[in-house]
Each structure stands twice: as C-alpha cells, then as structure tokens.
C-alpha cells in the first residue's frame, strides 16, 4: 500500500505523503481484517463505515479501495487529475467506497456521530470508524462531537487518532499541545485505548477491544510516525504536503521493497 500511495502522489505531483504513510497500517488493518464490507456493493446498508476525517491522507484510502476492488486499480494513477474519480480530498459522490466527503479538518467525527446514531435508530449492527489526525484535534468541533457521542452512548463508534505529532507548522507540542490526550478523551466519557499504530498485532487487538466495548464510544490513540517506512520522510514536517521527485520515489520504493522481503 505504501508503494501504491507514493506512486499516486508522485504521479499527481502533489499530495500528502507524510500523513498517508502514518495512517497506512491502520487503514490496511481496517480494510483487510476489521471492517464488514462488500466491495461489489459499496452502498450496502449494513456495511461498516470508514470516515477519513484527515481527508488529505486519501491516497492511503484510495489505495485500499482500489486494491479491494471498489474500482479499477488503473484509476489510482489519475489522482488529482481533471475528470478523475479520485479527488484531491475524498468525495463520496465520485469515488465508490468513500463513505463521507471530507477534507476540511474537524468535521469527520460529527459525520460519524450521525451515522452511528442512525445505526442505533435502525437497530443495525454496523460499526463506524473515524480516523482523525492529531492536528485536527485543535478544531473545537471535534469536541462537540465527542460530547455528543458520549450523550448517546455510541458504542458503535470508534475514533482513531493518528498521533504522529507533526503538523504543517511544526510539532503538535509547538503548534498546540494536546497532551495529556488520553485524559482529555477520558474526561469526555470515552473508552481510551493506546496502540503502536504500526504494529499489526497491537492494531488488531485494539480494534477487537473496541468492538467488545459496550455503552461508550472508543478512541484508539495510535502512536505513529509521519512518513513511516521511508527513511528520509520519517518525522520530517516538510513531507506533510509535497510529492516526491523521480529519484526520491525510486529510493522510497527501494526501501519499502527491502523491508517487505
């Protein structure tokens, strides 16, 4: 998936590799192991929902959807091109499998609250997963949604914070400190889990625990590394929103292929 998304961003000559790489393992876990899906029927009413609230990291989502067969993989290299089904930020009307239009930060958890409320109302057992960036937790609206999920005891709602601690202007600590992040969510009434967002067994364990939790929403704080898997991108702010050059892409893919061998 990392190779796919880097190729897409390289081809588009713009995009967000850092956050896409930090989210890649969690998105993989969700689409291959956790979520109940029917790629051949993207609007299946009983499917689990995934909302990429940090919409700029959509190359990771698109790669997953393409690899799962929601659309022909040939579309992946049309990312951000005019006429493409793959917009610069997710568009639920253009891309099969995208459950929610996102891109403006801070809104995804509220969309998830709405879906989870309807799941309860309709007595359906689908689950709703919302992936949040750590930078977007600066948005007050996230906490409006957090309160609301607690009020309605939305145990079918699971938020994941991709806690890579880097934003556009610097580290989260410099831009807007979030710690103690677990205490913040706890005080909003959420069940809080912590995991290494790049350790597949920890990821699957956390989702299993979240799924078994009743009466409260769960947030999984995932400690991640921005740019994970590519040595020169890891923990470098500048890789938030720029595309790799031809040489950089070749180097990155070389590193990633070596790692998977």
């Amino acid at each position: 998936m990392r190779c796919e998304l880097l190729k897409m961003i390289h081809h588009a000559r713009s995009g967000h590799p850092g956050g896409s790489l930090s989210a890649a393992d969690i998105v993989t876990a969700l689409y291959w192991h956790v979520m109940r899906l029917r790629p051949e029927e993207p609007n299946w009413p009983d499917r689990d929902r995934f909302i990429l609230s940090k919409g700029h990291c959509c190359p990771a989502l698109y790669a997953a959807l393409g690899m799962k067969g929601y659309f022909d993989r040939k579309h992946l290299l049309t990312l951000r091109e005019i006429g493409s089904i793959l917009q610069g930020h997710p568009d639920s009307r253009k891309t099969p499998g995208v459950d929610a239009t996102t891109g403006s930060l801070g809104n995804g958890l509220s969309l998830g609250v709405g879906m989870a409320l309807m799941g309860k109302l309709d007595r359906k057992d689908y689950r709703v997963y919302v992936m949040l960036g750590c930078g977007e937790l600066d948005e007050g609206m996230v906490w409006e949604a957090a309160m609301c999920a607690n009020k309605y005891k939305l145990d079918n709602l699971c938020a994941i914070v991709d806690y890579n601690r880097l934003q556009i202007d610097g580290t989260a600590d410099e831009v807007m400190p979030l710690d103690p992040l677990d205490k913040k969510w706890e005080s909003f009434g959420w069940n809080v889990l912590r995991m290494d967002g790049h350790d597949m067994s920890q990821i699957l364990g956390a989702f299993a625990k979240a799924g078994a939790t009743q009466g409260t929403s769960t947030v999984i704080i995932a400690d991640t590394v921005k740019g994970k898997g590519v040595s020169f991108m890891q923990n470098v702010c500048d890789w938030h929103g720029k595309a790799p050059t031809d040489e950089e892409l070749a180097m990155a893919i070389g590193e990633l292929e070596k790692e998977t061998l």
């Binding site: 009413p45 568009d91 639920s92 009307r93 459950d99 929610a100 239009t101 891109g103 403006s104 809104n107 509220s110 969309l111 998830g112 609250v113 709405g114 879906m115 989870a116 409320l117 309807m118 799941g119 109302l121 309709d122 609206m141 409006e144 949604a145 309160m147 609301c148 009020k151 309605y152």
Partner: protein, 332 residues
Amino acid sequence: MYRKGDMVSTRDAYGAALLELGRRRKEIVVFEADLSKPMRTDKFAREFPERFFNVGVAEQNEMAAAAGAATCGKIAFVSTYAVFASMRACEQIRTFVAYPRLNVKICASHGGLTPASDGVTHQATEDLGIVRTIPYMTVVMPADAVTTRLAVHQAAELSGPVYVRLTRDAVPVLYEDGADFRIGKAIVLQKGKDVTLIGLGDMVCKALRAAEELAREGICAGVIDMHTIKPIDQEAILEAARDTGALVTVEDHQICGGLGSAVAEVLVEGAPVPMERIGLRNLFAESGGYEELLAKYHMDVPAIVAAAKRAIERRNRLEQQVRNSPCPNASR
C-alpha cells in the same frame, strides 16, 4: 387548518408541519441545538423521542451529524436560528451537505430583523446571500403559515439540500388551505399596471399593504410572493417587467445577496427595467421593536410606497427620454 387572516408565526407552522411529516414518514429525523422550544420542534421530540437529537449548543456538530444521518437514507431536518445556521455552520452546509448533495433540510427561524430587541447578534440579515451562493441549495422563505406547511412537506419530497427561512413573529395567514404553492414557482397575488412589488416571506404582507396605499393614490401595483429565491421563477419576474416596467423588491435582509440581487440578476439578462430594492443598506441595525426597526431602516409600508413611486418615476423618465430624443438621421 389555518384561517385566512389569523395571526400565526411561520416557526409555529414549521413545528406543526414537522409533526405531521414525522407521523407520515419514518425517515424523518430532527437535529436540534438547544432551541426546540423556540423552534417548536418540541412537539416532534415528545412524540418521536427516538428520532429527535438535541446536540446542545453546537450548530456545527448539529449540521454535520445531520449530514451523516442523511448518508444513511434519512431526511434530516436541522433546526436553529438563521444567523447560526448560515454562519456558524456555513462550512458544514457548503462542504458536508451541499457538496455531497445530501438530504438535509435546514429550517432556520428568526430570519431578518425579527429577533428585533435581541439586537444584531441574533438578527439574520446576510443568511440568504450566503446560502444562495452555495451550489445545489434550494432557498425558500414562505410568507405565511399555510405556505410554510406546504414548503416543509415539499422540502421533504425534494432530493437534496433545502434552506427554509422562518420568522419569529406572528404574521397574517394570506392563503386558503388549498393554496397552489410549489417551491420554485412564484405566486402572483395581484396583477399590476404601473409597478410590481416582489416580496419575500413576512414582507409579502407589507407589500400587499403598500399596494393598497398605492391604489388609494390611483397607482395600480402588482404583488408577487417570491417565496423561492433559488431556483428563482424567472418567468414571473420577466412577465412583471413586461407588464409594469417598474419593480420593487421587498425583503428583510441586506439589499445585496438576497431577493433584490436574485431579481436584479434575472432582469439584467432578460428585461432591464427600473428597479428599487427595500432592505438594509450595508449596515447593521440595532435593538428595538420590529416595526420601529422597519421604519427607521426604511423597510416599512411608507418606504415601500415611496420606492414604488421612484421606480415609476424612473421608468417614466426613461420612456420620455426615448420619446424626446432627436432622430439620429435628422441632419440628412
């Protein structure tokens, strides 16, 4: 249901219509932000508590949660005051409701200066301009209780986002129960010869009163209830321009962005004629009684009458100029 001439606020009619809808269709869900009493959604909440979601004083979350609900096949009504719906939750309307064309019906009360004594913070005088520029939005402001009921029912039937602007104060019921009200189709209340007054929402009854005054002075004024400003009824505007050659728009909103702008856009492309606009002129009002505010800011019946006369005067001057201009071929 309502008797012509009764005084009923359109928010009361909204609450009652929502209850009817709720009984008829189980896909109706309602999101509220701690205003169920003034928005009159409390009746729906009592009868259908499982379909009513009070998210607290948090309009952004309210709007986006409704969008999420709409992705699950629901018809989601969002209730709040117009000033909060259109501004606090503006981006949620634009990006998360309109862009994915979701079935969210935004019902916004206290439109215009009706929150009168509460002052500028609560007066919604830019909302129509804001929501009208957003693609795929339908924007409606019914004039009375009968048409509010019909607007709410029709909004639920329409696919996609709708903004319904309501008002706080009681207004006269203008229509009989079986009124032919259709979103997107203006209602010609009376035909005119000298000038046409095009009103919106609670200002339609002011326009009617202005037309009565004008009639006493021998001026024959038409009156149109332009309840839908998007998509606007171009035919009705062009016909009025052809029939009378002078128009006045009457709205409780800034003169830019709302009804006046929408009508002017149609006129310049189709049939330019002199037109005057009643509304706030690039300023914020203040606290005060509603009627006092309308008078102070030149939006009351005498102001409409004066605007009608100006429009007629301008049209007459134009016609005279045409008649008196020398023949360009005279020297030959």
